[in-house]
């Protein structure tokens, strides 16, 4: 672990998690987890089912509000209810087990919906502010400068469409742009879900068992795409049951058990030479 850690230590911290706990009434799912995610890291979380892997991942972007603990992202604590969580979620991409493509939108719209909507909202806010500045300028001696509007509505839409097409081209689904998700295969859906998250230019991506709902023959295409994205330097936290993939792509492997981190280290350390008896037992059972 040390060698890896030294290399990673030089990179900036993307996500810093302190003492996360989560309970559903009497059921304590997470019992205090600390994790520091640095830029460029690919962290794979393994563990028996029900150990809280998915809950932990969903806590990272507050889809589940943690019961206690801190999640520091961009200098703010996401666990704090006062923080504008929407602003931060834009920079935390999430890929779900069940794809969750919007059924009522075409593939293209699925990808462009959020970026376009957010950019247009900002544009509207700027225009309203400018309007008030203009009114104020009537009475001011020193005229206040207007906010600069860089792109018009048309340009915003065109840009996000172009971006979406470029991403679709990358995964070879350009011709499906105007189809509805129900016409896609599972593997195609998940790949679209991944580029939908990518279209927001996230700082970190979270994968919640991205291949668990797929037919075996489609797992490969999805894993290849994730690996490609990882190779481009994306920071990732992945919950998966694909051990081979974990070993190949991970820079750090975390073994979770009963809501705490049981063991962590480089893939070779954890897979080949596990120290924790529970980890040993887990690998013996599945490998």
């Amino acid at each position: 672990m040390n060698e890896q850690a030294i290399i990673q230590d030089e990179n900036e911290i993307v996500l810093d998690v302190y003492g996360i706990t989560k309970s559903f009434s009497d059921n304590h799912v997470l019992n205090g987890i600390d994790l520091t995610v640095r830029k460029g890291e690919v962290i794979v979380i393994l563990g028996p089912s029900g150990c809280g892997k998915s809950t932990f991942l969903r806590c990272l972007n507050c889809l589940e509000d943690p019961t206690s603990g801190e999640i520091i992202f961009d200098g703010e604590n996401l666990a704090d209810m006062k923080v504008d969580i929407n602003k931060h979620r834009r920079k935390i991409g999430m890929v779900f087990q069940n794809f969750n493509l919007f059924n009522n939108k075409t593939v293209l719209k699925n990808i462009t919906l959020a970026p376009t909507h957010i950019a247009l909202k900002e544009l509207r806010a700027k225009k309203i502010k400018n309007f008030f500045i203009k009114i104020g300028n009537f009475f001011r001696k020193n005229k206040k400068e207007l906010l600069i509007i860089e792109k018009t509505k048309k340009e915003i839409i065109k840009e996000s469409n172009d971006n979406a097409y470029a991403l679709l081209r990358r995964i070879g689904l350009e011709d499906k742009a105007n189809e509805y998700p129900s016409t896609l295969s599972g593997g195609q859906k998940q790949r679209v879900a991944i580029i939908r998250a990518l279209a927001m230019n996230p700082k970190v991506m979270l994968f919640d068992e991205p291949t668990s709902a797929l037919d075996p023959e489609m797992v490969g295409e999805v894993l290849n795409l994730i690996k490609e994205v990882a190779d481009d330097g994306m920071t990732m936290v992945i919950v998966t049951h694909e051990m081979g993939f974990a070993r190949e792509v991970a820079t750090r492997v975390i073994f979770m058990d009963e809501g705490v981190i049981g063991e962590q280290g480089t893939p070779s350390e954890v897979f080949d030479n596990p120290q924790n008896p529970r980890t040993k037992q887990f690998f013996n059972a599945i490998l």
Partner: protein, 251 residues
């Protein structure tokens, strides 16, 4: 009196143009109040349903939720006639408003009544949409309202189309109580005809009235089917047949 005589009386009454106009006027009023009532109902119902399913962290949401619950309880708990009479003969004089068209009162009361039912229908529709759709929207940084309006509610409406059709049918038939507040709807029109010339002959007019209601309901059923099909089509194929035909020509 045998049937032929009854028919004769009816035909002689209908010879007067004024009664034909009356029927069409009644039909127009009935459809108008039902349609506008449903539109208002869908808007109110959607808003109320959104409050009902919203997470109850904030005090304001909890207060709104209680108000919505009271609203639903009142409008589902009392008959439409009572609501109409209350609105027209109690609330209007109480507020001192005069000269309001009874039709407007009808539309508003129908809208409020329908909103209570639609809110429950819509709540069912919203809960029937996979939770992942909402989560995916939120995970992309969209707010609660945006996620609801752009993703969840359109899918919910698709799911509840048949039930909404039902609600519309109920509204169309319930307009027959509008005569209580002096609105001339379809029922009132036929009642007037039946009682015209101090000749109280109900059989034929009321039979025809019933048939017109049946035809109206059948038309609505057909319309709902067509809308459902349009929704289903957009689910399977994005490209319209025209577009595909064009592509074929091009290739």
């Amino acid at each position: 009196m045998n049937l032929a005589v009854k028919w004769q009386i009816f035909v002689s009454k209908m010879a007067s143009e004024e009664y034909i106009i009356l029927i069409f006027k009644g039909l127009k009023t009935t459809v108008k109040i039902a349609v506008f009532g449903l539109i208002i109902g869908i808007i109110i119902g959607t808003l109320v349903a959104t409050v009902k399913v919203a997470p109850k962290y904030k005090l304001i949401v909890r207060i709104l939720d209680k108000i919505c619950a009271a609203y639903t309880a009142f409008f589902r708990g009392t008959p439409m006639v009572v609501q109409l009479l209350f609105a027209y003969y109690v609330i209007l004089p109480l507020l001192g408003i005069k000269g309001v068209d009874a039709e407007i009162v009808g539309i508003i009361t129908f809208g409020l009544n329908s909103g209570a039912y639609v809110s429950e229908i819509m709540r069912g529709g919203i809960t029937s949409v996979d939770k992942g759709q909402f989560e995916a929207a939120r995970a992309l940084g969209l707010g609660y309202g945006t996620a609801m309006i752009k993703i969840v509610i359109p899918q919910a409406i698709k799911n509840i189309m048949p039930t909404l059709g039902n609600e519309f049918i109920t509204l169309i038939k319930e307009t027959s109580v509008l005569s209580f507040i002096t609105v001339t709807d379809l029922f009132k029109a036929f009642k007037t005809i039946a009682e015209a010339n101090r000749n109280y002959e109900y059989l034929i007019p009321y039979t025809i009235l019933g048939l017109i209601y049946i035809v109206l309901v059948l038309i609505i059923t057909l319309l709902v089917r067509i809308i459902e099909k349009i929704f289903a089509k957009s689910d399977r194929k994005a490209e319209s047949p025209k577009k595909k035909a064009k592509e074929k020509v091009n290739s």
